[in-house]
Symmetry: C2
Subunit: 284 residues, 2 copies
């Protein structure tokens, strides 16, 4: 058991905890991805949850169920991938567990975080809030799902600059994740499709499969960007928070419980898309 | 991400962390064990590590990779088993992660603990210390490996009653675990085979396979009892610590680094047994 010294401060008696797993042929695929990429994704998925609470990750633990085919080089590469991802946020790997079985690789990561402010949850959105996302959405399957940077630094800058009412990371796609935030908050949402920041990867996927890039931005999942709700006055400061990562207002919080609607610049309403990304053991 | 409020006190800025996994057909076997037993063992393995540090478990997180055959009843039973094990120590399950894949069940448990004393490690044994174990050893495969009680309460009573120099839980068998403690402490050990508390299950296994019960007590593993080193004066108080669970002096810490030896009441030395339990994906 590892001992981690927590910093002092107003919220020093709060430990924030998260566990997340990454499974071979679900979240990554060792038939085409390097072990280092698998390790990196496993750690970054968990750190993305730390970002969603705008907390500072203090330590992570990693449990690995290795296939019997794993050799020393594979294990080292897997560890190096985990290590590099954690080191990018000065977060030590303080413990772990390793076992070997005749099944595929499973990597489970638990994180301990601390916060300098009231913990930000997904349940605090208020009617009239601006809904915002970091970065651009859609098409992560083209590679970004393995190679994203958890928005830990940006989340802390956002939390320092404004009073964030609710926040979560987008792992299953805006179409699934936004209703979760609204349900937790007892509110609804109206999202303007014209405002959605669509990733070039979503456009590229559209050219391949003919589905609208907007559909990819809403439903693909694994963006690992942040979705948050802030007072609309606070939202005016968004442009100043980060010079490189765009933060975009995509809509507003409404009083209609659980009701999420899409609209466009002409006020034309569209049905909320079904689906989003679900991990069901299919390919990555 | 879950927020856990830590208690105050001298060591309130220390978070103790552990992660442990339990895999189907490695640590349990769903072909003959109930899902509830699997969940219970997964949680108790992690709580046994909390006992090894004599800490109070404050919260656990559980990640589950479910086989595609899992139905609602199986998942509920698995959760109930986890829940019952955690509730026995008033330890809430504060978070988790669930995924489905076409492989066997993997349950990973992370625990956050706190301590009211200097954290007890396996590296603090001192030359001349008495070496002690709780309970009786060997033959856990007959059922105890699934149905043990982590020595959390006993560990706290021991730590309150005496200055424990080093402690660990016996998961891989005394033959493997004691040398680990001695290596970590830079010491050696002399264990008297006549003093070893041999479990009736070890005797029963001896009748089946002809191997000495002593061999089972040393090598079987999965006892989940505590091994600890205390000043030999402190060891005199052991009899008063718990009315039900025996605590036995099995030997003493020596100055010979890394050297573990077996002896008997006649001073006859025996070679330290090779082996102990290793999780390598074979049967349980």
């Amino acid at each position: 058991m590892a001992a981690v010294t927590l910093p002092g401060g107003e919220f020093s008696n709060l430990a924030l905890l998260k566990i997340d797993q990454a499974l071979d042929q679900v979240h990554f695929d060792l038939r085409c991805h390097r072990p280092a990429a698998a390790g990196k994704k496993a750690v970054n998925r968990c750190l993305s949850d730390c970002a969603a609470m705008a907390c500072v990750p203090m330590a992570i633990l990693i449990s690995v169920a290795l296939p019997q085919t794993a050799d020393t080089a594979m294990m080292q590469e897997l560890f190096d991938g985990c290590q590099a991802a954690a080191a990018a946020f000065n977060c030590p790997i303080v413990g772990g567990d390793t076992a070997i079985w005749d099944q595929r690789l499973a990597v489970t990561v638990a994180a301990l975080g601390v916060t300098a402010h009231v913990p930000i949850r997904r349940s605090g959105a208020k009617v009239g809030d601006a809904l915002c996302v970091t970065g651009k959405l859609g098409g992560s399957i083209l590679g970004r799902h393995l190679d994203f940077i958890p928005r830990i630094d940006l989340a802390q800058r956002l939390a320092a600059a404004m009073n964030i009412h609710a926040m979560m990371d987008l792992s299953d796609g805006l179409a699934m994740d936004l209703p979760r935030m609204m349900t937790a908050s007892g509110t609804g949402a109206c999202v303007n499709t014209a405002w959605l920041p669509i990733h070039p990867d979503a456009l590229q996927l559209h050219q391949r499969d003919g589905k609208p890039a907007l559909h990819h931005a809403l439903c693909d999942g694994e963006d690992y960007e942040l979705l948050f709700a802030v007072d609309s006055d606070d939202a005016r400061q968004l442009a100043n928070v980060d010079p490189e990562i765009p933060v975009t207002i995509i809509g507003r919080v409404t009083a209609a419980p659980d009701e999420c609607v899409l609209t466009d610049d002409h006020g034309q309403a569209q049905a909320w898309p079904k689906g989003g990304w679900e991990y069901t053991g299919g390919g990555t």
